[in-house]
Amino acid sequence: MPEISIKAETIVSLFGFHLSNSILLSFFGIIFILILGILYKKQAASSKKNGIFYLLQLLMKSLYSIFKSILGDHINFFFPLMSAFFVWVLVQNWLGLLPGVGSLLIAVTENGHTLHIPLFRGNNADINATLAIALISVSIVQISGVKFLGFFTYIKKFVDFSNPINFFVGILELVSEFSKIISFAFRLFGNIFAGEVLMAIIAFLIPVFAPFPFLLLEIFVGFIQALVFSMLTSVFISMAITKHH
């Protein structure tokens, strides 16, 4: 029976900060995205561009057209953030599928006894990571609402004393903003963690040929969850910045 833990285990504890196996894998993701960005920028200046440039440009153009249909005129202000969410979630999801992630074990001594824990773990299979980007996303929605509409116009959505009904609708809107944080965090965490558990169990039950379609499913789910996260953020932003009535 494979060892599955819902919590990302700490590998080493530096000055009180617990470095977990999911953070360790996310560093690779950061370096990968950085390298892609630097390559793209260098290729943009040269006259003979190679395949990576065109591939990235295809990705960015498709994302631009998707977000333009949601955000309309404000697309140029929000596109860096939306595509950053997409690329971050996509890269971290797909990095969790590489061979060695979850299977390479490291021996860690804790209070005397040694346990063997995976050295790497998908970053979004850690509730802390998904909660972090959910908080960033919902905060950005509030900040853009205040920036584009003005503080008092935006607050009127939540605090409306004109009518008892509107007062309760305002309170419900406030609760719904908090539920968006939970919903973002758990949607991404649930999809990716359940995918990891599914692959571990299938590989344990039928090691030959059966894990392959589930690996394809996980690649697809990783892409869809990245798309859903960024599209939902852009939809909430567009709802927050449009003037009502």
């Binding site: 819902i6 249909s69 949607r187 649930g190 963690f193 558990v197 869809i224 798309l227 939902l232 939809v235």
Partner: protein, 74 residues
């Protein structure tokens, strides 16, 4: 005794939790295909709205799955 209760709880949580979203996603898909048949020109906006709605419906199934995983592993 608590092990047996955990197993039953895990199964019931995800089993009942997947009924609603399953029906919901089926309805969303059906309505989207119907709208596509009536107006094939609006394909990309129908597809975007359908994927968004399916993600919302599936998230509820994922909440049930997370609860069942929490019951099983703690």
């Amino acid at each position: 005794m608590s092990d047996a209760a955990k197993m039953i709880g895990t199964a019931i949580a995800i089993g009942l939790g997947a009924i609603g979203p399953g029906i919901g996603i089926g309805i969303i898909g059906g309505k989207a295909v119907e709208a596509l048949g009536r107006n094939p020109e609006a394909e990309s906006s129908i597809r975007t709205a359908m994927i968004l709605a399916i993600a919302f419906a599936e998230a509820v199934a994922i909440y049930a799955l997370v609860v069942s995983l929490i019951i099983k592993f703690t």
